[in-house]
Amino acid sequence: MARFLHALALGVFGAGIVHIVILLLVPAYSERDAWSALSQQANFYHPVRLDPPGAPPLIASLDPLVDAVACRFDLRDGVVQVRSEGMVPYWSISAYERAGLNIYSLNENSSPQGRFDFVIATPAQMILLRNAMPPELNDSIFIEADTTEGIVVVRAFVPDETWEPSIAQWLRDVECTLH
């Protein structure tokens, strides 16, 4: 009986260890992440609509009243510039690391005159940029991202259907370029 209880206690203790190990391994072994979904759609630096019209959204949690584009980048190739022209009622931008964790976000209220022109760079690249600023990045807002590969997502609010064409056009105009 004592040996049975011993085995039982050992089992429960082992279950605790297995619980922790599995819990910590799930993110590492998951292949259903946003990165894989995006890489099936387009290559690096090519913006992809997260809610393609007439198809299920790539990101299930996306708000039905928000249109979004995403592009993948790799800061080892250089800094990435994300920009678009024109005005929309509300936009926001987020930078995600490879696993899809949000490392930086900003909405249009925090940008001067609602201008949409961002540069994502690592802390080391920021120092280099400050020393010799390329003229085409002069007006950009800089986002410091401590990551190599990552995803940048631009969201725009669509108050009603009549806004849809102009917001879709604004999102099509979003450029994701390598510098």
Binding site: A7, G16, P27, S94, N102, P159
Partner: protein
């Protein structure tokens, strides 16, 4: 000999089944240390950020998700009404009360697979704060039901459980430590079909 083999197998079995099963259960239920519950609404302010707890991280990685950042907004989800019953698509609900400060908010209904419930006829799948009927005291009441309702109506169809997603955009409460003191509207069941 046989007895010790049996005991070893028993201990190993409990460890593997119990360990894996408890992780699965914790991920299926909305278990998390970082959750904030206000009435029937639950939010995970750290969801999808590097600060998230391991349960939130594991749940996040199981579905391809890109969560809203702190500066973008915060999502509150409700799966139950204020009476504690699971939200059902064949029932009618009234959502009434104060909304926390935000630039704007949207309210949508999602099915069991987290897909947005869309009914035909050109109706918008979600309501938002910039196009709502308001009472003289600026409060808002929304009816969520399968049958058309006066004032603000969020349309449902079909049967089975659903959840409500209330997304607050550009809201100060997302980055505030006092998020649990925020007031959110009540969800009251009005009646069911059948």
């Amino acid at each position: 000999m046989l007895k010790s083999v049996f005991l070893t197998v028993l201990a190993l079995g409990i460890a593997l089944v119990g360990g894996a099963g408890s992780v699965w259960l914790a991920l299926e239920r909305d278990f998390g240390f970082g959750s904030v519950a206000i009435g029937s609404w639950i939010a995970f302010p750290d969801h999808g950020t590097p600060e998230a707890d391991p349960y939130s991280r594991a749940r996040f990685s199981r579905d391809s998700d890109l969560a809203l950042g702190r500066a973008e907004g915060l999502v509150f989800t409700a799966r139950r009404d204020d009476g504690g019953d699971i939200l059902l698509r064949e029932c009618a609900y009234r959502i009434e009360g104060e909304m926390p400060p935000a630039r704007f908010w949207t309210l949508s209904a999602r099915d069991a697979g987290n897909g947005v419930i869309r009914i035909g006829g050109g109706r918008s799948p979600a309501l938002h704060s910039q196009a709502l009927l308001r009472r003289p005291d600026n409060s808002v009441a929304v009816t969520v039901s399968g049958r058309p309702a006066p004032e603000n109506w969020l349309a449902l169809d079909g049967a089975g459980p659903f959840s409500l997603a209330l997304t607050l955009y550009d809201t100060a409460i997302a980055s505030s430590a006092r998020i649990a003191e925020v007031e959110l509207p009540r969800i009251v069941r009005e009646g069911c079909d059948g």
